[in-house]
């Protein structure tokens, strides 16, 4: 039994302690906004926040996470899609297929929490998620828009 705090709610999960956080989030917690892309922390589709830090959940076993650590998924970033990053994403109509976008948004929100005003080099260095549709330039523009648009410290 492992206790995890996901989107503000502490729950016990009866799973193998080696289970990656991604699969507990998707299969036990039932939150499917966090995506499976590669399973080896390469693509970033599985990005969530752990204590505010953008983390790839597909290669992180839950026994590496303490019960009190705060896990936030795309569903918990804001109650209604109103996080500045989500608003900027909507304003710029960023997604194409959208599969990588929860991970992109969580990575971007994580970046802005650490660095509220990133320059192009910061964005290039920190946002290494894969998008096969090719939304990179809009992701970049939306991060800058979110940085301009007000508080990015929430979530």
């Amino acid at each position: 039994m492992a206790r995890l705090t996901i989107n503000g709610e502490a729950r016990d999960f009866d799973v193998d302690p080696e289970t990656p956080l991604l699969w507990v989030i998707r299969e036990q917690a039932g939150l499917t906004g966090t995506k499976f892309g590669c399973g080896i922390a390469q693509c970033g589709a599985c990005t969530v926040h752990i204590d505010g830090i953008a983390t790839r959940s597909c290669a992180m076993p839950i026994n590496a996470i303490a019960p009190e650590q705060k896990i936030v998924t795309i569903e918990g970033l804001s109650p209604d899609g109103s996080h500045p990053v989500q608003k900027a994403w909507l304003a710029l109509d960023v997604p194409q297929c959208g599969y990588c976008q929860p991970g992109m948004i969580m990575a971007a929100a994580g970046l802005l929490q650490q660095n509220p005003n990133p320059n192009d080099e910061d964005i290039s260095a920190e946002i290494t998620n894969i998008c096969r549709c090719g939304t990179y330039n809009r992701v970049r523009a939306a991060i800058k828009e979110a940085a301009k648009g007000g508080s990015t410290q929430a979530g």
């Binding site: 499976f36 590669c38 390469q42």
Partner: protein
């Protein structure tokens, strides 16, 4: 954020950040199960349109949304003729089973070849127009006035003499009983108010919150999950496996060999299925191709470059006479490797089987193909099966013709009748069992006269045919016409933009035992690299500027020339680039559209940086310039990923790359600025999802030559030292 949209009559220039433009129009009506249930009780006006009492307009979309924006574009075309309120529009997919039951009222479901809009624009607009006429006729009948005295705008019908009004929602039920009109004259695109506009996508909001459900996310009560492993050696099969070794592992329900090549574990959760499968001892019979390697395939193709037997697509004049006529003869040989589609969402399908019925939920580019495969795998008549389409986490050609995952899901569901089974592939399974962008080589031979004019060209393609394996009924007397994409003399799909007095284009078919498939852009990608790299080589051999060299050959191809000129002007070809920056050009026609690109690159200490790309597209008619711009930008990501990194190598008859650590793709740091110029010249309907991919690589390769003097003829670039 600034919007850089400049409209000068028919010439649209969209800046790289134009997405903000239509924000005020960005209403989104979530597509809820309640809305679905409600829709089921409301009679449709016709097959394309359902209007609810609350004025919600449901537009039915037959083609699949996989990121390319076709859902929004097709809805715009229907709404344009329907004269409804765009802010009330939502969409739904009619199922392939419903399509069959209704004599294919929604036409073709296949979503590939950049055909979603260009192949259905006429009948979807007719659908919208017919619904409009039935709605207005219903209002006129209720008012007992002539139809001719009524008008409609944004879903509000007005009886002009009396100024009485009603709405689509109020008359929809009566409209359903109206006799459908015959063919209706459609609007001239120049009068469009919804189509042709850069409207925001209809499917964005749920993609920002995690609410959008993809196939991999489906959940049903009592559902089981499955992981599969197929023999990685093409042509090989399962020799043995030891189910007892893992049958006691947590959550495991069944361990099955579903066919000669594939073993699977069904468990309560996918992670447990996958964990047990990883632990399952399996030995493979490597089959007849165990000695096939990248080197052996390259040798096989190389032999085709000078072979006597070849399928001739174009033969004009006498190339040999020119090659031996004393002019300058230039030759070059190119090669393009296998690529995997690598959609972000790995292949998956969910199936429910009973002896009486089979249903499948699947992200698919062709719901009707999915249905046919499901019925065959279920062993049931197609009428007892149906497929429910869900949005795709990328398609790129992998999820159209190839429905291997649907077949597997149904076979697994048959193991547990009455229970939903969700099959999800690992990334490794996805990489090892692709439908690979085929490998080709090309030998180009050109003759230049004393004035530097190109007098003859022989283009010999050697390599794999997709159709020979995938769709043999499409072959023409043994020849695969797809191999010649962009190279034909006159096809509206894509003709060569150069007039060359002596010209041979032929194909020596060499089919290695690696399964080929349609990969976004298909053979146009390789062909553009060969033609446009070689044009650059010829220009340099002739001592002529590459733009001028091309222009001389393009006098009879004004649309090709227009997009080339547009990028040359856009990049400032007539002015010197910034210090250390070098430029390259490319143009081609494919999927019915004319495209060109100009790239600016620099190379520092052997590291390539692509600074900027100017791209131009003439798709004829333009349905949504904001979506075209996204497709153009995305095309560079796809095309540059392949040219910089993409390579599936073969050893022991299997693919060596299993995940993104060895099959890298373009990421944010390398993404150039892209400036998109749309030149919609009207009069035809071209596709936009694919053609631009083809010019990405040659524009960059030509710029790379300008920067380094190195002519890269074998991709990907990661294998070359640029220092």
């Amino acid at each position: 954020m600034t919007i850089a949209t400049k409209v000068s009559r028919r010439n649209f220039i969209v800046g790289s950040a134009a997405a903000v433009g239509g924000f005020s129009l960005g209403f989104h009506i979530p597509f809820t199960p309640e809305a679905l249930a409600q829709g089921a009780t409301i009679p449709e006006v016709n097959a394309w349109v359902v209007i609810k009492p609350d004025e919600t307009v449901v537009i039915r979309i037959a083609r699949s949304e996989m990121g390319q924006g076709t859902l929004t574009g097709l809805a715009q075309l229907v709404a344009e003729e329907l004269e409804c309120d765009w802010s009330k529009v939502t969409t739904e997919y009619p199922s392939p089973g419903q399509n069959l039951a209704r004599n294919r009222v929604w036409g073709n479901y296949s979503t590939g070849g950049s055909r979603g809009i260009r192949e259905s624009h006429d009948y979807v607009r007719q659908g919208g127009a017919a619904a409009r006429e039935m709605l207005v006729a219903a209002a006129a009948a209720e008012w007992k006035v002539p139809r001719s005295e009524c008008s409609v705008s944004k879903g509000v019908i007005t009886h002009n003499p009396s100024k009485r009004t009603t709405t689509y929602g109020k008359v929809a039920e009566a409209a359903a009983k109206q006799t459908p009109p015959g063919n209706i004259a459609l609007k001239d695109p120049k009068n469009w108010t919804i189509a042709g506009k850069p409207l925001p996508r209809l499917d964005t909001a749920d993609k920002l919150t995690g609410k959008q459900v993809y196939g991999a996310d489906l959940k049903f009560p009592g559902m089981l999950n499955a992981a599969v492993r197929a023999c990685p050696h093409f042509g090989g099969k399962v020799a043995s496996f030891d189910a007892a070794a893992v049958s006691g592992m947590p959550g495991v329900k069944k361990i099955v060999k579903i066919d000669d090549t594939t073993v699977a574990v069904i468990a309560d959760t996918w992670w447990r299925a996958k964990t047990a499968l990883d632990a399952l001892p399996v030995t493979w019979d490597e089959g007849p191709n165990k000695d096939v390697s990248t080197a052996s395939i390259a040798e096989m193709l190389k032999a085709g470059l000078d072979a006597n037997d070849a399928f001739v697509s174009t033969k004009v004049g006498d190339v040999q006479a020119q090659f031996s006529g004393g002019g300058k003869v230039v030759t070059a040989t190119y090669a393009f490797p296998y690529q995997n589609h690598a959609t972000m969402e790995p292949m998956n399908a969910t199936a429910l089987y009973t002896p009486d019925r089979c249903e499948v939920w699947v992200p698919t580019q062709n719901g009707e193909s999915s249905l046919a495969v499901a019925a065959e795998a279920a062993g049931l008549p197609v009428q007892k099966c149906d497929v429910h389409k869900v949005h795709l986490g990328g398609g790129f050609g992998r999820r159209g013709n190839f429905q291997d995952y649907v077949r597997q899901a149904v076979l697994l569901a048959k193991e547990v009748p009455g229970t939903h089974v969700k099959l999800l592939w690992t990334r490794e399974e996805d990489m090892l069992h692709g439908a690979y962008h085929p490998t080709t080589q090309c030998k180009m031979t050109g003759a230049l006269d004393a004035q530097g004019n190109l007098t003859a060209l022989h283009m010999r393609i050697s390599g794999q045919s997709i159709l020979a394996t995938v769709r043999p009924e499409g072959m023409q007397g043994g020849m695969d016409p797809v191999v010649f994409q962009g190279l034909t003399a006159s096809s509206p799909e894509g003709h060569l933009g150069y007039t060359i007095p002596n010209l041979v284009i032929d194909h020596a078919m060499r089919n290695p035992p690696i399964p080929p498939g349609f990969w976004r852009g298909v053979n146009l990608n390789q062909n553009a690299i060969y033609v446009e790299s070689f044009m650059d080589e010829l220009a340099h051999a002739a001592g002529v500027d590459p733009l001028e060299f091309r222009r001389k050959l393009m006098a009879k191809h004004p649309k090709h020339l227009a997009v080339l000129n547009a990028v040359a002007e856009g990049v400032g070809w007539d002015k010197a680039p910034p210090q250390g920056v070098h430029r390259g050009l490319a143009q081609i026609m494919g999927f019915g559209s004319y495209v060109a690109a100009a790239a600016e690159v620099s190379v520092t200490d052997g590291r390539l940086k692509i600074h900027r790309i100017v791209a131009a597209t003439d798709p004829g008619h333009m349905v949504n310039p904001a979506q075209i711009e996204r497709q153009v930008e995305g095309s560079f990501v796809y095309g540059l990923s392949a040219s910089l990194y993409g390579e599936c190598t073969v050893k022991n008859g299997r693919i060596e790359q299993e995940n993104f650590d060895t099959y890298d793709v373009l990421r944010m740091a390398e993404m150039p600025a892209v400036e998109t110029i749309i030149l919609p010249s009207g009069g035809f309907w071209g596709g936009v999802g694919e053609p631009t991919i083809a010019v990405a690589a040659p524009a960059v390769l030509n710029a790379l030559f300008a920067a380094t003097g190195k002519r890269i003829r074998t991709l990907p670039l990661k294998n070359h030292d640029l220092a």
